[in-house]
Each structure stands twice: as C-alpha cells, then as structure tokens.
C-alpha cells in the first residue's frame, strides 16, 4: 500500500535519512522504532510531504507521491497525528475535529464519523466546545488521533502517541489504536516506547541514525536480543 524506496532526506543541513526503504501493507499495523534522533519523525514528515526527499521515491497505492504538496498527499488518504500533538489551541475541540475533515464534502459521512470518534473518546464529548489549548496532555493526544481519523484516512500515521503520557493513559491509547486498526484502518506507528509498539504491531522496523538496521514480524523483534538490549532495557 505504502512503499518507501531508498529515501534520502535532509533535516536542515543534517542528512537525516540515508536510504530508508520499507513497506506497509493494507490492514497492518507497522511500527517504526528507534531512539531520539534516529530519523523517525523525518520519515513521517517525508511521507506527508512536509519534507521533500533529495532522492528515492514514495509510492502510495502504486502512484508516486513524493513530489506532491502536503495537502494533496492528505487528500489521497494519508493522515498524520503529528509529534507533540499540534492541536489548534485557539480552536474548540469541535473545530479541531472539523479541521481533520477539511477536504471532505460528504456532510452525512462527516457527522457519522464525528459521532463515532466521540464514542471512541468520550472525554472529547465532555470538552466539545472547549478550546483545544485547555485540554490535558492525554486529552490532546486523543484529539490529535481523532482529528487525524476525521479525514477517514486510508492510512493513519501516528508520531509518538505515548509521548508525555502516564502509563495508564498510554495503555488506553494503544488499546484504541488496536480498535481503529480492527475497524479496517492501516496504521503506521512511530514510537520510542518499543515494548508497547511491538506488542500491538504486525511488523516492525528499527531505525538507527537514518537507516533501517533491523526488520521483521513484531514478535521476532520483541524476542531479538539486539532489540532487547538497545530498546527494551535488557
């Protein structure tokens, strides 16, 4: 469904991705793990078009998307819940969710999805007319995921959904990610919390200083001594 082929990207002057290749198949949860500065966010931003790759190609459903503008990529069905959540703080929860559906015109479908997202995240219903900036970190994360879902994406990319959240909230968020996947949305999950990410993923890739160093089914990676040593604390 989504394929990266030998992508080289620069983050400012830094050569952040040095030939990254991976694929995500329909219906999977694929996780990209790695430590801080490995290039995880750069990878996502390259997919969504915020960063243009210097070389390599990105294919989405068989078509090249690496030369498209971010809004065109969003229109094709790649939706991102960005790192640090990036909620529109001066807009209400409702407006934030509506921003997620910016390119949709099917009013009935939008209403249906809105209802479903409020079902998924009851906290957002309580805060519906509050401005996004007043939400707690966990609520903002829910809003970011909900907003990304409002576009009814073909593939949902999540950048560190566990960042800065209490363990109990992290478990809750990951449970919801599984639910979303079971309802048929393909997911690309980027995480520092390798344990959590690998426990729900189908397959995983390990990114180190801009290169994929390890890949395989999530179960194998969880068991691999190399991963255990580097990311799971022994």
């Amino acid at each position: 469904m989504l394929t990266l082929n030998a992508i080289h990207s620069y983050y400012g002057q830094i050569h952040a991705l040095k030939g990254v290749s991976f694929t995500v198949e329909k219906g999977e949860i694929v996780t990209l793990i790695g430590s801080n500065g490995a290039g995880k966010t750069t990878t996502l931003n390259t997919i969504s078009g915020l960063i243009k790759p210097r070389s390599g190609e990105i294919l989405f459903e068989g078509q090249r998307i690496d030369n498209l503008a971010p809004h065109e990529i969003a229109k094709r069905g790649i939706s991102q819940s960005p790192e640090g959540r990036k909620i529109f703080g001066r807009m209400t929860v409702r407006e934030n969710l509506e921003m997620g559906a910016f390119n949709r015109k099917d009013q009935a479908g939008i209403r249906h999805d809105l209802a479903q997202i409020l079902e998924l995240f009851p906290r957002l219903r309580e805060r519906f007319n509050q401005s996004g900036g007043t939400l707690s970190g966990g609520e903002q994360q829910m809003l970011a995921i909900g907003r990304a879902l409002m576009s009814r994406p073909r593939i949902l990319t999540l950048d560190e959904p566990s960042m800065g959240l209490a363990p109990i909230l992290v478990a809750q968020i990951f449970k919801i990610i599984c639910d979303i996947n079971q309802q048929g949305t393909t997911i690309l999950l980027i995480e520092q919390n390798a344990q959590m990410a690998l426990s729900i993923a189908t397959r995983g890739y390990v990114l180190e200083t801009g290169q994929i160093v390890l890949q395989g089914p999530a179960k194998d990676l969880l068991a691999s001594p190399q991963v255990r040593k580097a990311y799971l604390g022994g």
């Binding site: 809004h71 229109k75 529109f88 703080g89 001066r90 921003m99 900036g133």
Partner: protein, 348 residues
Amino acid sequence: MYLFGRRIDASQIIVWIIGGVLFLLVLIGSISTLLTERYTVKQWLDFIIFGAAQGGIYALIALGYTMVYGVLRLINFAHGEVFMSGAFSAYFLAAALDKAMLLNRYPIPCLLVIAFLSAAVSATVAVCLERIAYRPLRRAPRLVNLITAIGASFFLQYTFRGLYGSGVEVYPDIAILKGDFWGIRKTLLVVCGSALAMLGILYAFIQGTKTGRAIRAISEDLETAALMGVDVDQTIAITFAVGGSTAGIAGVLYALIFSQVNFFMGFVPGMKAFTAAVMGGIGNVPGAALGGFLLGIFEAVGPSLFLDGLGIPAANQLKDVIAFTLLVLILIFRPTGLLGERLAVKRT
C-alpha cells in the same frame, strides 16, 4: 531591588516613572480643559464621531496587517500602498462618473460600484504583492521579507507617482453626502456605518466559514494546517485578497472624508493602522478593530483634551505625537497588545 516581594530592575522603574508622568500630564491637561469649559458638549461629540470614523478606517486597514501577520509572521509594510491604490481607483471612477453626470444622479449605485471596484483593485494589488514579492521568499529569514516589504512599498508609491504625477487630486463632491443628519456630518455616519458593517462581515467570514477556519489554522500552525489538507499557498493568497479588499474599502471611505488622493497618502494611515494592529495585539482580528477605533478616537479627542489644557499652542498638529505616544505606552505596559496573547506563557 525588591518591591512588594517582586524583583524589579532599574530600567523597569524608569519606564514606570515615564508612564506615570505621562499619565499625570494627561490627567492634569484633561481636568484643566474640562474646568475651563473651552469646548461644548456638542463639540466633544463631534470630536468623538470624527475619531470613530477615522478609527473605522484605521481598523479596516489594520485587519490586513494583522491577518497577514497571522499567516506569515510578516509585517506587510506595503499594505499602506494597497490602501492607496484603492483610494486612487475610487478617485478615478468617481471622477469619470461625475463627468458622465451619473454620480449625483444615481449616487448610491455609483458609490457601491466605486466600493466594489476599489476593493477589487486593492485585492489584486495585494495578491500580486504576495505572489511576486513574498511567496518566493517564504523560506527566507524574516528580515529579508521585511526589507522586501519596504521595497515593495516604495515600488508601489513611485509607480503611482510615475503614472499619475505627484499632485493632489481632488475628489468630486457627492451631493447626497453633504450636510448633517441629526447634527452629525452625513459622511462620517456613512463611514462609521460601512466600517462597522465590513468589520462584522469579516469577523463572520473568519469565524464561520471553512476558508476562515483554514486561515485561523494556518495562523496557529502552518505545517499542521497543511497536514489537515489545507492548501497553504492558496489560503495565504486568499488572506492577502481579503486584507487587500478591506483596505480598498478603507481607501474609498478615506476619500469620502478627506476628499483628496495622492501617491503618498498610504504612508501615514498605513503607519497608524499598523500601530492600531500592534495596540490591539498583532495577529488578533478583534484586537485590530478595537485598536483602530481606540487610536482614531484618541487622535481626535486627545489634542483638545490633553494638550489644550496644558497650554500647548496648535495642539491639533500634535495628534500624531499622541497616536505614537499611545503606542509606546501600550508597548511598555502591555507588550502583547490589548487583546494579544501572552507569548511569554508557552505557546503550543
């Protein structure tokens, strides 16, 4: 040094003293003016209404500054010239209609056509400005954009000078706007009313429409807005067009009050409107409107109220001093503007 348990440094004390002295001067001046009963209540009302009309014009121009700042973090110093181009188009169309004897036969349709054309011309100028001068520099350091803006401002001024000369062109009279209505100059009423209506329409546009929401999203976070599927380039162009057309309307209203145009006329109102935008909190749309009206009224009332009482001769010529002193005071005591967010508190 500590005061009331808070640490305060010397420069802050000096600033507060300056502020206090100015405030005292204003107070003494106002009291002595009011005690001597130099002006009648009717005259004060006239000052205020004139100020409100002028302030409405500032507010309309200020919106363009503040919206463009919102989406691009750029002070578009050529915005005063966008306003000037609107006033010029209004003049040419009005003069032509006057010659054809239509202006006073069908005044209201004519005025509407003039307003529409001026808004269109100003919007076009603003959009071209964005396309030619700012978009290629989107990723350049901000100082580069600022200098480009000043260059664009000169370019527009001297283009108009080259085309139409440096003289002052006098606006034709519009009979229907002559005279008073309930003791108030009709022109001022029309200007105030149109400005308020435009501000209302614009506010509804920004709060209530999808495009308005896209503009607000870009103002908060350009990249995330793009991720949501907002076409950033297009929305920025629309922002310029909206800001430009309000400046064009402001140009028409300005020409109604002052009934003359020249190539340099954009500079001072542009500066004042920029001041108003900063006073209200740059990037904040209601703030720009509030700042505009406040500045206009202060300028109109101030010289007679504060300065006459202090025995300053020809106080009226000092109205610009009052306007910019007000700006300095607000920047000292409320650096983020009246309705501005406090950036010192974190911004996510």
